[in-house]
Symmetry: C2
Subunit: 248 residues, 2 copies
Amino acid sequence: MSGSEFSSQVDISSLKVACKDCNLYQLCLPLGLENDDLERLDSIIKRRRPVKRHAFLYQSGDIMKSIFAVRSGSFKSYTLTDDGTEQITGFSLPGELIGLDAISSGQHISTAKALEMSHVCEIPFEKLEELSNAIPGLQRQLLRIMSKEIAHDQSAILLSKKSAEERLACFIISLVNRYEARGFSAKEINLTMSRVEIASYLGLAVETVSRVFSRFQQDGLMSVNRRSIEINKIDKVHILAGTKPSTN
Amino acid sequence: MSGSEFSSQVDISSLKVACKDCNLYQLCLPLGLENDDLERLDSIIKRRRPVKRHAFLYQSGDIMKSIFAVRSGSFKSYTLTDDGTEQITGFSLPGELIGLDAISSGQHISTAKALEMSHVCEIPFEKLEELSNAIPGLQRQLLRIMSKEIAHDQSAILLSKKSAEERLACFIISLVNRYEARGFSAKEINLTMSRVEIASYLGLAVETVSRVFSRFQQDGLMSVNRRSIEINKIDKVHILAGTKPSTN
DNA sequence: TTTATGTATTGATTCAGATCAATGATCTAG
DNA sequence: CTAGATCATTGATCTGAATCAATACATAAA
């Protein structure tokens, strides 16, 4: 009844979760850390306010002071062409780090925008650098995460050789794998991005994305209703994508 | 006259260069290190034998024990499709690190093959990890290099939205920028990769690459003779590529 | 409810680039 | 030096996806 601690109950409850209690622990930066080390990492992390749908986490050109870990929700990263068109370079899901591309220049080269109401942990980069020097396990995990991002981006480069169907299949498989790793259902996906955004990421026209979704549905691979997708024949999607079932 | 130290003069002379005397110092891992630190890094690096044209540096599936710095020459990195087609994910020039994508899984996910007679420095990864924990400047530089690779790969992702002309222009600009940073002429380029390899990287057919080169030549942007290219109107190439002159 | 307004689907037409095909140039092995 | 292989260029045709265009659906506002 006193009110204040309930006034924004949801936010506070999620904001207060420490790394050790976070269900993303095994995916995120703290993986492998224990006790003291974990708490030291915890102590430099700022739990940020929720990020509203369509709000920026940072914009292209901003000085990079922090990187961010997605706690909940999702983000898109993009740059703009001369004529102002968004060119999406990636989507970020819970447990993933955003902003790693800015370390080298110290400035963000892309813009990160929330696709839905989201929460992030802000990790001041200077402190992270210091700390990962003091904690070998943290350095190790940071390098691994960056390496994983490199590997992921390289597999995205291969998209440009593929047909529209292959591209969309690859995209869906990537989402499924990532959601699975986070303990979400692999069968039902709720897309948080629009067709336009998917098209931009895959280098296709919106209409093509829409058509391919329809074709996938006709062929019984999945049921598609706007942004909710139920996958019926994941093995066939894997075949289309040209990925072995279980690649991450 | 005693012989042995001259028996393979060229190799030895290049193999013996320490980091501090290497002309790639400012591009490579040692950047920012001095004296002791530099020598400690130097001490873990193995100068490898020259890598012959078409020889593998590592193959997909190999355990990742080391990463490599290109000292001279060039490499392509690729994966194979089910039907055995090479899918090139990148080219590596002197001063660049190869194998960073394997840190996360501990296994190489791509194959690296020399495009010409090349030299590399082999950097045992475990030792590098240890050492970069002891030397803050080294950790810093390693993170920067990985971040740069992420940024580079993300710009390559954008290729899939571009036309054939834009793709080839981007490719040429990228080469020019990288060669320039290494002190080579920006006007004359000697491609070390075939048209097939360029096509694979850009997601185009060989014939298209060839045709676009011809068109560039007709339009007076550059003189193209097989693998040697002389760029006449770099600003126009930049416009095509959609990059500001001087982006790196 | 009706009216917007953004988002998604579907159809008709066009076009950039793939594919098929042939020739020429360069390189390598004998 | 020649024969065969590899690599690059150019032309003709075909096709997958872009573009143009219209409609449907959904969410929000009036």
